[in-house]
């Protein structure tokens, strides 16, 4: 059982964390991009398309960055906290646009 926990802690956790972090960051960025562009008067579907085109390369980059620099806190802060902040901002912008 110790082997199982060891593998989980040293391998599975970093992969899952990098994946979730990268995803959250991408989610935040894409939603902020869409709501931001619409807020600035852009077309909704155009913004959506740009978001989806950029999303996966960015996700990929953030995943690698998080995974490779495991010892550093910066990537984790950037992806998790940054992702959460961007998501909140996007939500706020949406509320502003809809009013």
């Amino acid at each position: 059982m110790t082997l199982f926990w060891q593998v989980t802690r040293s391998y599975v956790t970093p992969v899952v964390a990098a994946f979730l972090g990268g995803y959250l960051f991408t989610w935040g960025l894409v939603s902020l991009l869409i709501s931001g562009m619409v807020y600035l008067g852009g077309d909704f579907h155009n913004a959506e398309t740009i978001g989806f085109l950029l999303a996966f390369p960015i996700f990929l980059f953030m995943f690698f960055w998080n995974f490779i620099r495991q010892t550093s806190w910066l990537p984790y802060v950037m992806t998790f906290v940054g992702g959460a902040i961007m998501t909140t901002l996007a939500y706020g912008l949406q509320t502003l646009v809809i009013q």
Binding site: S10, Y11, F19, I34, S35, H45, F52, L60, Q70, V97
Partner: protein, 562 residues
Amino acid sequence: MKFANTRQAMAWLHTWLGLIFGFVLMICFFFGALSVFDREIDRWAIPDTRFDPQPMPSFDNVLIDVFNRTEPDIAEYNRLMPVYHDSAAGDITPRTELPADEYWAYTTHRDPVLLMGIGFRVPKPLNTKEHNHIHGRATIDPRSGEELPSNSLKIGSDWFYPLHYSLNLNWNFIGFYIVGIAAFFMLVALVSGVWIHRKIFREFFTFRREKKTQRATLDLHNMSGVVALPFHFFFALTGLIIFAAFYYLPVTNTMLKPLHDMHETMEANATGLPHQRLGITAQIASVDDMVTEAKRRWAARDMAGEVGFLMVHHVGDANSYVSIYRAGSDRVSLVGEGIHFKSSNGEVLREDPPHSTAKSIAEFLTGLHLQHFEHWFLRWLYVLGGLLGCVCIATGFIFFTEKRKQQHAKNNSQGSRIVDAFAITTVTGIIIAAVSMLVANRILPADLANKGDWEKWIFCIALSFSFLHATLRSSPVVRGEKNPAWREQCFIITALAITAVTANWLTTGDHLIKTIFTTPYWAVAGVDLSLLAVAATSWKAAARLQSESIEKEQSSSEAAYE
């Protein structure tokens, strides 16, 4: 942590994530490659539909009758009606009395049959903001308007094709998510693979078959990965983009849905295409005249073409309109150049304007994956790309076990044995399953009730058989030797593929001389020839593995004798 450097971290990611998701990716690549010819496999599997592709038939004479007699799907009605219906507003509407809200018909340059669908609306909905559609579908012979028997399964477009993006696991879309995650890690494996291989250019042409299995396998792994690198990368990426809005990054369907809905209403005002029903009944004018007008307008723009997709919105209402889209057979992007008509009088409401740059890029990327274009040579190159992907993943599995099995044999570990059994299931097993399904399709009686379901079961049983067989025969791997299941399953594939071709001949009379020379029908000939190619290749592989194992036995018995 314990990675000494970036290269080691990359190597770890490539090895382990490639291994775990490789089993899923094999299914995506193999059945994706088959999906390039999904319509042709359909023709093989449903002999009644072996005739030439047809243009969109007359709406006024053929389609409208089919729409009028098509009913909502029973299973979908039972599942969704209680959810959509507002029981406080009155009694539930019986299934056959649901009013139609939208009609659509869809065909491509490869389709003899026509796919049609209806969205029925719920008269007393609980949530008035939603669409609340319950669907009905029909596949017809466009020459007569007759429906195909409902027991026949379109093996290509309704089983192999969805298998490659959803694994046909539809419970909560779990299959879509598994494939999505696998596609993401395909990208990870590609990037990390390129990172750890320094001599990309040399690997283009190097396959030293005379070297040890481990080395030769690695050569083939590198070559198949590198030569088709753009294919592998862009198919994984575009696959993710195609489903981004619905499954993988549903930002605008969840969190930003209010923004999306606001835009929909704004867009409806700007385009003049009504977003909602008005509530006043109205008749529909001649849709055939609208089709003629649409074709005239496309020709005027120097892009004459056939109708690929036709849709009637808000059926029977004063707000109803007809959207007519062009079949995209001569270009990659699936644009459609839609022209919209008012249903009641056939007046043109709107022509879709050219799209923005971002939209055009996205349409090119999704179009290159969905391949609506008419280009047989490129189709075959895509099959080759998909099969190179399979080779790359399969050699990855073999390299993994070859590298470790001696070590595992010493430590008495079961690791290689398990990986090898899964590898057999996802390499030879999926071929056995696919070909068994085709054999079953030809052998089961045509009028068997739920024939399609039987075929699906046989696919699953064959796959399980392959896994069981691979597991039961796996003990030699523990001694550092090859699993005989590889060879045995290759023999099984040969036998099945030849049986399939023979069964097609015996049950339909369409043998290769007929389908190639006397009355050419390339869809069926192509499937038959591919099956024969599979038979020949697997026979060769099996024979090679056989002679290898005999040699080994002889040398070991000689060693014992001395």
